[in-house]
Symmetry: C2
Subunit: 336 residues, 2 copies
């Protein structure tokens, strides 16, 4: 559901181009292409959330650093994050899998087991799927179906100037974990970062708290990185934003492990993807409500929504301010 | 949603193995893995149908014989057939696409255009999807979401001994069309068969008539071929069947084109896939109702459901009777 990937074809955002108003035939479509999930009308009390995420070997994961079970688990959990980003409750999933002959048999079973175990963790029912051959790579397409109370889905498009920007958890961990896996150095303190790279924690409970409490005006999950995903949210909302670098939450040992791995801690924090934390905006009148809410994960305020003409920027402690250009993952740029 | 593909891994049917009773967490799941679609409870008046179909280049289609638009159109229409096979009304689709660089740009646009045009033909709203790179092949995963009146979904599992077996349209056409495309001969009378190979016609309206009239006790679409798909239906229903060869409906010119292309007309009729006609069973008490129903496509009776111990067989006009073993497409057998 990430429209960003469409940039792969240069100026065309194919998935968005694919549908115009002329392509919307159902009166039940509340939100279509361009958000984390599509929202469709269920009955009088709930809406249905739909999302699909395609994971391709060597682009989204590498068998050198992941066991088949870990690939399956990560495919499931990372795609489930789109349901969290709407404030929804996951319910069903469909799995389409293409595997080369060399992976058939026990390895494919292990991959499925990883999916099944992750589904069990979130009480998601695997309701179908498909299986095919492939030439060399593993392809996993995960489709999730969730529910949410009528009209409560938190879209990307609801942010307004003056709203405060929050994130959950810590940033840059998963990207740092990937660098640790890619490195020849064995660094014990990098283990927690490697775990975050291997096993995302979709913030379902946090998303539920925010949507049911009507606390967030807009929300997205951090899959591509802060710069990219804040950019998507701002584009959808027609706003700008300023982020305070000093307030970005980092893990214990973050800087130390960055140093050992020769990773630029600033760039990794702003652009590193796959943390699957939630980025959301809160109107000033709801700040007290947020403060009083019992949330399952720490959240911190990192900046403010501005008008679109003020652009997207990050403010550093020395008073300097730079444009926050999207530096997240481009699937085609790194492919081949 | 085709459980057959699981046979690719020998004894394991991975998709079925993936879920046991322990993996069903939602009370809203009415029918899970193993039918054409999953059926989940919507509200008091309707159920929701979910299905996904993965199409892989060189396994499911070949760029030598299909323009990008035709690939997109066929991917959409063939997968939509699973909604027809339940008697459902299609409403939304999600498209996940992996394309190699060599196909990016105009060709990928044409592929999407084929999908969009096919969706428009059935008034299906494209509600989302994903896009990624690939190494060499095109991968298309189509997910369909449909609706059906509560409790009216026609499953594979409802056939009982004594029920009559019907099919719509004509059989063996699409497989013959593929042979015509693969042949160096240019045969004008093969054109209609090539069209059926290139552009399936999911029998949505027929499926709707059968489900709303409660006329069919079990139903499946003919994607893998008569032998395979009747086998799936019988296995799900715990029954056997006998088919009368003389009653299998064939197109005008079928035998003549088979001859010109050196295709065995019997084997092609029994095992040729991709016709996307509906195969369904009707209890004796509903035969009159079926006869009186205004159906959009001709249907013919081709045999009868027997007990499981009587097996699956085909009876020839000379009185001979052979076991109808599954001879449909095996995705791994032909891959590589």
């Amino acid at each position: 559901m990430r429209n960003k990937k469409g940039q792969a074809f240069g100026e065309f955002d194919l998935i968005e181009r694919m549908t115009g108003p002329a392509g919307i035939f159902s009166k039940n479509l509340r939100t279509g292409i361009g958000d984390d999930c599509a929202v469709i009308s269920g009955d009088a009390s709930f809406d249905i959330l739909l999302t699909s995420d395609l994971l391709v070997e060597k682009i989204h994961f590498d068998r050198r650093w992941f066991l088949p079970e870990q690939i399956g688990g990560k495919a499931f959990l990372s795609s489930l994050s789109d349901i969290a980003a709407m404030g929804g409750l996951p319910e069903f999933a469909l799995v389409s899998l293409a595997v080369p002959r060399s992976v058939a048999g026990r390895e494919a079973e292990a991959l499925y087991r990883g999916i099944r175990d992750a589904a069990g963790q979130f009480k998601v029912t695997l309701a179908g799927g498909d299986l095919s051959g492939s030439d060399g790579r593993i392809f996993i397409d995960m489709m999730h179906v969730g529910r949410i109370e009528k009209g409560r889905a938190v879209l990307r498009s609801g942010a307004k100037p003056g709203d405060r920007i929050f994130v959950s958890g810590t940033l840059g961990d998963a990207a740092l974990g990937l660098r640790a896996l890619q490195s020849d150095l064995k660094i014990e303190s990098a283990e927690p970062f490697i775990r975050r790279q291997r096993m995302p924690e979709p913030r379902i409970t946090l998303g539920r708290a925010l949507s049911s409490g009507r606390l967030a005006s807009a929300m997205i999950d951090l899959s591509d990185g802060l710069s990219s995903d804040l950019g998507h949210l701002c584009k959808s909302s027609g706003v700008g934003a300023r982020v305070r670098f000093k307030d970005l939450p980092v893990s214990k040992d973050y800087r130390r492990v960055c140093m050992k791995l020769s990773v630029d801690p600033v760039s990794n924090l702003l652009h590193g993807g796959e943390d699957y934390e939630l980025l959301f905006t809160v109107p000033p009148c709801d700040l007290m409500g947020l403060k009083q809410a019992r949330l399952p994960v720490p959240v911190v305020e990192i900046g403010e929504i501005l008008t679109v003409s003020e652009g997207l920027s990050v403010e550093f402690p020395d008073g300097g301010c730079i444009e926050l250009a999207s530096g997240g993952y481009d699937h085609f740029r790194m492919d081949g």
